[in-house]
């Protein structure tokens, strides 16, 4: 496993692994000869709302996949609450508290809303085959508690009435809510939201902003948003990281980002024209 070269501990600079809920250290990802993400370091402090943005093709999704464990980085390491999770498989990361939603909603369509949430409790439940078949008291209690917890979560995201509905029959907005409820069922420390406002109108986006902070405060976790739409992110994030063509070009508060020359260029300047060419 590759790693950053050890550096002398400088006074006043705490080790980012210790102070952040999640820390990605010098991540590089190559697909064959293509460098999709180039030496990007990234941190999610505890109880924060941060975002990762960038124009199409910036490497956001690839980077995101490294965080969730779908890809193994070519170089670099990922730490969750001080533990190295670079090679931990996705399901274990989920159990450790890294929950996500999907850009293109990926619910279990033919399961009810309640079952969807309960699937995500898998790693917290213990009962095995025998106790399930015999329906031992422990298993029954566990199931009951899980079901209650699932309903609570559905209430929390505002679709308490939909518990018995098949996920596929929910409205688009409710499906997004269900995805969040499902992710919260993992009792995450970090919630990764992949383009959560896609397809929302401005009012819904506004509500969404409030919702993000409510989740953060009530569930005591950090939120990472991935977006390509700047306007949404500016309102909701505490800090923003900008990727462009695999490189980290800026990191800072929304105000900083707004005034950053490179970000403006990435969004409006050269990349814009090239995309224009491609579309033509």
């Amino acid at each position: 496993m590759t790693q950053a070269p050890p550096r002398p501990e400088t006074a006043g600079t705490p080790d980012p692994v210790d102070v952040n809920a999640l820390y990605a250290d010098h991540i590089t990802i190559r697909f064959g000869g293509l460098v999709a993400v180039n030496d990007v370091s990234f941190a999610i402090p505890p109880r924060s709302v941060v975002s990762l943005i960038g124009p199409n093709g910036a490497g956001k999704t690839t980077f995101f996949n490294v965080l969730t464990g779908l890809y193994e980085p070519t170089e670099g390491a990922v730490f969750l609450e001080g533990r190295d999770i670079t090679v931990v498989p996705p399901h274990r990361r989920a159990a450790m508290g890294l929950a996500r939603t999907f850009q293109n909603i990926r619910l279990f369509n033919l399961m009810t809303a309640e079952e969807n949430v309960m699937v995500a409790m898998h790693s917290h439940l213990r009962s095995g085959i025998m106790s399930t078949v015999l329906r031992l008291p422990g298993q029954r209690r566990e199931e009951r508690e899980a079901r209650d917890a699932a309903r609570e979560l559905l209430e929390f995201v505002g679709i308490g009435k939909a518990e018995g509905e098949l996920a596929r029959n929910l409205s688009y907005g409710d499906q997004r809510r269900l995805e969040v409820a499902r992710a919260l069922a993992l009792r995450p420390k970090i919630l990764l939201l992949d383009e959560p406002t896609a397809g929302m109108n401005p009012q819904e986006s506004e509500l969404f902003n409030q919702f993000v902070y409510r989740v953060r405060d009530e569930k005591d976790l950090s939120v990472l948003l991935i977006e390509h739409d700047m306007s949404v992110i500016m309102k909701v994030s505490e800090r923003i990281t900008v990727l462009d063509r695999g490189n980290l070009i800026a990191e800072g508060t929304p105000d900083d980002i707004r005034n950053n020359q490179q970000v403006i260029e990435a969004y409006l300047g050269k990349t814009g024209t090239r995309e224009g060419r491609r579309r033509a």
């Binding site: 460098v35 910036a58 699937v119």
Partner: protein, 492 residues
Amino acid sequence: MTTTLQRPPATGRGPRRSGPGAVARFRWPAGYVVVIVLLFLLYQSILPTLVTPVANGIASWLPVATINECLMWAIMALGLNVVVGYAGLLDLGYVAFWALGGYTAGWLMAAPFNWTWNVHLATAVPGDYPGTHINFWFVIIIAGVLCAILGIIIGAPTLRLRGDYLALVTLGFGEVITQFFRNSNNIAGLNVAGGDGGISSIDGIGTGPFHVVDKSVPQALSIDSTSNTYKILVLGLLVGVCIFVSLRIREGRLGRAWLAIREDELAASMMGVPLVRAKLSAYAVGAFFGGIGGVANASGITGAVSPSGFDFGKSVLVLLMVVLGGMGNVWGVTIGAFLLAWLNGNGLKQIGVQLDSWFGWGAETWLPRYNFVILGLLLVLMMLFRREGLIPEKRTKALLRTPNRTEMESVGADITEAEAESEAAEANSGDDAAIASAARDVSPVLGQAPSARDDGADGPDGVVRADGAGTSDGTGADPAARRRDETGDVSR
């Protein structure tokens, strides 16, 4: 489209406890018990009293032996249903477990290859018989466990791969198991399982259950091993247990995980479901049932095992039972197994006889020969026109009827995304060098990133900080923190 799964949006504790479903829930189990008991009574008491033409009609269309075969196949179909129907894994070598179960019975319930010792355990076989003779019920458990272990061994390397590869590996596994038993008379010089001849004269089911050694038990309990009628009860009980386990298991944590995997493997793993473990357990449970089926077949139906009986055709037959009945639906699968086992065993011939009596085609001989063609066509037609089976599972109906639109869309979107990304990366490294160098001009730090990383002394390295690299006084510069200062300083 039904929108709810028979569950009112009540606030009660469990859906299974909320009234209206209760009667419906016991309809099928009660029906099953009634059918088994009726069948038993039919052959035990009613048939001898009927007039000859009716009795003969029943005996030729539905002989007792065929009923037993149907029940045995139902065990197999229920097992495969766990793998294919619940977890969505296509297993084309299911016959392997059937074979191993059968051979376990051969090893533990017979005297193969002139074994001279005689080990007896709670069995009705006379004590001076040579060989190993262990009670049927113990053998069932042993065979099930053995098959589950084999399933795990074979599944572990392959289950982490794509589903269609699994189909092929299992197909190969089914072939190899047969080959193993075919060569089994000389494995490193040892006769393990009798080679082509297999093992014969395996103890019947009847020598097991209640009739230990003592002949004084009432006749209804001390089952005569030659009586096919009593086998209905024994096999019926086994099928009942399999149904019970299938139904229970799908309602727990594991069953949910299987359903989730069937629908969206990736999403399931992202929700903390360990894919390989969950799939392995489905595979192991299926194998367990397969082992039971194998013992039931060797001990209850054929009384012998030989490699030629365990061909690819049997795997497909079981698969077809699952598909015909309705993947995932326990009752559907049971009925599918009954139908096809009957058709394959006795039905085709009987239909041929009937056709002959009407038209004189000689169909009695040629119709059964087309069973492969008929079964294959049936599978194709089912897939084309009624993928959900005769008695569809409520969910599967929707799953198989309509293409999964969201998935299609997501695939499309992913491709665009991936393309855009690789294109951008290409541009980055290749012909758009001008842009890259321009970017370097704008940001000297970007160009120096590696070196900055090396000397490492100047704090946050290699990263352009919008608030100026190295400025350590960002306290007031964070609007989000200002806006919601009640949440505290985000960066600490």
